[in-house]
Symmetry: C2
Subunit: 390 residues, 2 copies
């Protein structure tokens, strides 16, 4: 298959691109390196020494013998270039990761809120519009988040894979009718809200133009490297530990490595879904190699392998490393504790064999967090974004 990976320089996009290339697919990366610009804006850097994209791609060519061309096209604002690329390349699939992906970053200021909405909505819409205009039957694969449904205090319902069977009253008030609807959303940040808007965009273009779309609702990604990024130091993947882009488990690992207490926001009773980066790349190839038929509704899969409470993760890392646990005020506007019962059968049924936390965690602590601890700027650990002004 020929596959365009939009956002192919990012934390998920880079190992996905290499994995697809290693599997023999013809990969083209689209990326404006905007994630690296955000690092400079925030005064932070990946804990791991990631190389310039040109250097990464040259290393991959040297290691694998395979070329990955790269185009710096801004999906949200360079529609004509995007359309020309689609028409020229005629991809079988487009992986869409060209979105601002951090909830805390999206809440930093009005400017960050507005950037996140403008970028994410226009990037998604331009891609869908361009696929229709190109006349090419490309399969669009997007990574969304399980967070679109919110993290309420629970209530005992199961999170299905995208669609929910409900019963609604009839017009005459006498009976009830079964309906299958897109699962209602309840986003907890501007970032999460843009993923809810994406869901509407996919639904519409699938219905009106029969676009083939797979939307992977991903849990929190942990881990750093994959089989391909381990092949050469110059292929190393990004590891974010700062208060904006760092995800909870990677932040704990790095904090443990540098002797900083593990910072738990609030009670730690928040339950989240997790997936290792190696499983992310496998899920992508499974989704791409098992595309929906034309005319099939949007395929929504929960891309996660286990769920944990934040405090349990902190205790696990603490037990492994001896780090202290520190409770801080939670800057997020969310329930202090929640359950997260979720269905995630589809990717397993396609052949995913999950990497579990208990197996991979120690390697991350030793191989990555401790190995690069000298590169950590401790002043960037605190999370400074506030969800509300009050």
């Amino acid at each position: 298959m020929k596959i365009i990976v939009c956002g192919g320089d990012g934390f998920c996009g880079w190992p996905i691109s290499l994995h697809l290339s290693a599997r023999g697919h013809e990969v083209v990366i689209v990326d404006t390196l905007v994630r690296r610009a955000a690092d400079r804006e925030l005064g932070v850097d990946s804990l791991t020494p990631i190389r310039a994209l040109d250097e990464r791609l040259a290393a991959w060519r040297a290691v694998s013998g395979r070329s990955i061309p790269w185009h710096a096209i801004d999906l949200a604002h360079a529609y004509d270039d995007l359309l020309a690329l689609l028409v020229r390349e005629r991809p079988d699939a487009v992986v869409h990761l060209a979105e601002q992906r951090a909830a805390p970053y999206s809440m930093k200021s009005p400017r960050h809120k507005r950037y996140t909405v403008d970028n994410n909505v226009n990037a998604t819409h331009n891609l869908l519009c361009a696929v229709v205009e190109s006349g090419i039957d490309s399969h669009v694969v997007h990574i969304g988040t399980m967070g679109v449904y919110g993290y309420g205090s629970g209530g005992g319902t199961m999170i299905p894979e995208g669609y929910l069977a409900v019963e609604v009253p009839t017009a005459d008030g006498q009976g009830r009718i079964e309906r299958e609807i897109l699962h209602p959303t309840d986003p907890g940040s501007i970032y999460h809200m843009t993923k809810c808007l994406d869901q509407q965009l996919f639904y519409y273009y699938n219905k009106n133009d029969k676009l083939r779309v797979t939307d992977l609702h991903q849990g929190v990604v942990w881990g750093t490297n994959t089989a391909e990024t381990r092949l050469d130091d110059r292929l190393i993947n990004r590891f974010d530990y700062d208060g904006d882009y760092g995800t909870v488990l990677n932040r704990f690992l790095m904090q443990a490595a540098v002797g900083h207490p593990l910072t738990v926001h609030g009670s730690g009773g928040q339950t989240r879904a997790f997936i290792h980066i190696q499983d992310t790349v496998r899920c992508l190839s499974l989704a791409l190699e098992n595309p929906p038929q034309r005319g099939e509704r949007v395929r929504i899969l929960n891309q996660m392998t286990e769920t944990h409470r934040v405090i349990d993760l902190a205790r696990m890392v603490s037990a492994m490393t001896g780090a202290d646990i520190q409770h801080l005020d939670n800057p997020r506007n969310e329930a202090s504790r929640n359950e997260l019962p979720a269905v995630a059968r589809s990717l397993i049924s396609l052949g995913l064999e999950p990497t579990h936390l208990q197996e991979g965690l120690l390697e991350e602590v030793i191989g990555v967090a401790r190995a690069y601890a000298h590169r950590c700027d401790k002043s960037r650990i605190p999370c400074t974004s506030k969800w509300t002004t009050s």
Copy 2:
């Protein structure tokens, strides 16, 4: 109250601004005259001879003794100007009509799709973001459309006012739990889709920042003038009859007046909700004068007074005028017939006394459509937008 009307030069915005001013409110108009630019782009003009906004405002000052200042701020792209205006004026309420409002226009081409998404999403988000940043507790009143729920073939459920009580299975699969959710959407065009995105934006800002929002889901507006726009020829309201911006009933009236057959797309079995422009302006003042409390969820009201099948409207106008009825292929991707049972009790309970079609139709035929028939360009009657390429 001090009320900013964004989109105050448009078909709904102009009579709303005058009505609120006549009721003693302090009105400020924000409008970049983009609707007039669309007329020039399409080579069409209002059937009625609307005056330049400056001239309209001078006439209103002469007639009523009341001033309405006007600011040409683009909500979607001039955030700083919008924020400065809010901080300076400290409005009690903001009426948000600054959106591209025609489904056929939104489907004309990829450029029109992209303009509609970019403009409508960024305009709404910038407004909500600016109200939060300003720190002012302004009530945001938006006009959406009943079309967000789609016009499927029916199915016997009632359209409630925004929220739907459903039953969902429990996590253990043993029972069912009642939930109240935002009514699921099923948009039939890019325009309608942007109104679904608006709904998500309102939901989020109401939840996270306690913004007070009223979202009026309006039916198809018919009629031209209101008590205030009739006071002086220079205050006359817009009447669109072209294939992009003309709404179904006004198009029939004008077609009858110029001896053109009434153009029914498809079978005419499509049921739509209707409201007279005089009732639109009354609904707005009722919504503004009965605002939600801080902390109250988004108030969603169905703003309509009656429902009709398109073919029945054509027969009504035909009986009144002798015009022929012509069935054309339907360019829209929609069910050929549908029911539309809907609840619209809230605005009636606030005091709305509806203008019914049977009462107001003849005045429109004689007083507007025939009076200005000489200004009609018949070549602009056909609807040229196509919903799909196939």
